[in-house]
Symmetry: C2
Subunit: 352 residues, 2 copies
């Protein structure tokens, strides 16, 4: 594999790629001058600049970012680590991240962990080896060892959506889950609902935990006793919610309203309700956390609490780039974006 050539020594040839030395030779200048031209160094004379630029263009020279990154000790990349690409929330956030990164000259290295701790560790290792300049992460369960290592390497982290231990030490972009659930319960309460069920998600992650707790707190605030039978674990999945709703309706005491804690579960609950032949909103009201594309097209359109996903991505990207540039005080920046209740047609007056 190690082959010497007369002019250039190569392990595996980068095909026909020219480097700055080649361009220098072709243009009759030194490689330093070529580098200066490429980096718009003002000390280069107009004449030289033109000469070199023409050679670069003529021969289609493409800068080698690998070497550049090694020399500069940065990579102009940020890592985006998500637990589940099939959840539309994450591509939506990616859209926002991408927009900011693109305008600031950063590229994105994408990692999906499939909610698996082992894969997550590998993904983090990979990102560290790559020397990403920053990391936007939705951790499954990032252990302290990994976190410590990231910190030691001086790589800034912005936590997204899910909180983890010591979240307060890091920049964070999330939403006001408690407030979101409060607005849902308030909305249902004012419509007259008292028998309010919630299909909640995994309690291991903060969105799951906070939303259920937000529900409980709001119920308490409005003086409604919590019926344990109305609390159903839907595991943040469509199937989980489907089964949960079927189970819910096998009980004697039926709820008049159902809250679902993410868009996948809203779909699952909707399907279950329709499949059981129950009418929304006449027989039961449905309200979901997270808006989704088809919510407006279902019959009836589904009332939801929405959050600004793309905005979350933009903020996270801005936070991380500010941190990379050192444009921030040491104090972690923590943002909790407000949610917004969008009333459509899936909630009706509850019987008092």
């Amino acid at each position: 594999m190690y082959t010497y050539t007369k002019e250039r020594k190569a392990y595996r040839i980068w095909c026909v790629n020219l480097n700055q030395r080649d361009i220098a030779k072709l243009a009759g200048v030194s490689s330093a001058t070529v580098s200066r031209v490429i980096n718009n160094d003002p000390s280069v004379s107009a004449e030289t600049n033109k000469k070199v630029s023409e050679v670069i263009k003529k021969y289609g020279y493409v800068q080698n970012a690998v070497a550049r990154n090694l020399r500069l000790a940065n990579t102009k990349t940020i890592g985006y680590l998500v637990p589940d690409i099939s959840n539309p929330f994450f591509p939506a956030v990616l859209g926002g991240i991408e927009r900011i990164c693109n305008s600031r000259g950063y590229d994105i290295i994408f990692e999906n962990t499939d909610e698996d701790e082992e894969i997550e560790r590998k993904a983090i290792s990979s990102l560290l080896r790559f020397r990403v300049d920053g990391l936007i992460a939705v951790f499954v369960r990032c252990n302290q060892a990994d976190l410590q290592r990231i910190k030691m390497m001086g790589i800034p982290v912005v936590l997204l959506d899910r909180k983890i231990e010591y979240t307060e030490d890091y920049d964070y972009v999330g939403i006001d889950n408690i407030g979101g659930l409060y607005s849902i319960v308030e909305y249902l309460y004012k419509l007259g609902h008292r028998k309010i069920s919630i299909i909640y998600g995994s309690q291991d992650i903060t969105p799951g935990y906070e939303r259920l707790n937000g529900y409980k707190a709001a119920m308490k605030k409005f003086g409604i006793a919590i019926n344990e039978g109305y609390l159903i674990n839907g595991d943040f999945t469509e199937e989980g919610a489907y089964k949960g709703v079927v189970q819910l309706f096998s009980n004697d005491e039926l709820p008049t309203a159902i809250i679902t804690c993410n868009n996948l579960m809203t779909m699952g609950a909707y399907k279950a309700i329709i499949d059981m032949g129950i009418k929304i909103p006449d027989q039961v009201s449905l309200i979901g956390f997270d808006d989704f594309d088809f919510a407006t097209h279902l019959v009836p359109p589904i009332t939801v609490v929405s959050r600004a996903t793309s905005e979350m991505g933009k903020l996270a990207a801005e936070f991380i780039i500010d941190r990379i540039d050192g444009n921030t005080s040491d104090e972690p920046r923590r943002v909790f974006l407000p949610t917004k209740l969008i009333a459509r047609g899936s909630c009706s007056l509850g019987k008092l």
Copy 2:
């Protein structure tokens, strides 16, 4: 910015990161030995291996992939270039790509072009500078200059979904659009429909072009004259399809069936039909290209032609990695996955 220290010279310090030389010193061996341990070179003795491994672990050494990539002239990355991350098709494909890449040790650099040629050119440049080992691309309009440059650099390309000029020179993963439309028209024909309208997408890209042409070819095959008034440009968007359907129904001669050419347009058409108070499938039949989550739970459930999105990603990733490894003949591999008609409830017998 250029600061010399006694032991190490650094431009900008990689924080506290140790390198192989540091580990070598700590373990009392040479840096070559450290490198050998890291790369599992069998020539290292068990004793040395253990000694070095312990130091690596103790000090949390993280390999620098930037330097490694420079030395090895590869990066173990592939670029994924898409025109519109907000279209659920692309994250769905990404899921498949990610799975294969993950198992084969490749990371993904993601680029979104927003259907903009200028952004696309920049994204391609960025990927080339990064020396991605391969590229999976859905080009907006990749010009020959860029394509030529990619080829010159020896970077293999797998085209996805959209074809471009000289597609036949590249590996390609797509679907059988012509066959998909044929099966739709055949299905409607056998139900007795003759007045068949199509809401088609952008003719600048092959999925738009081929689907419309597939419709025309199938219509001809079944001996149905094409009514120009039934051909509506819906621009592959929900709004476009909505307006298109409204326009369609402002004509005198109404169709008995409508074909939509992607899932967004299916939703738009559905909504328009519902909003106009027209009954599906009694007054008009609706059949869409591309399945989508809620197709089964609309009223009525929508009949569609589906394609295996995740499978497309897996195939593309396998193709590109095979190409990188040189495990393929020079002959381009071109796959057209079949589509599958899923009959639900949105098409009824047409009046003959």
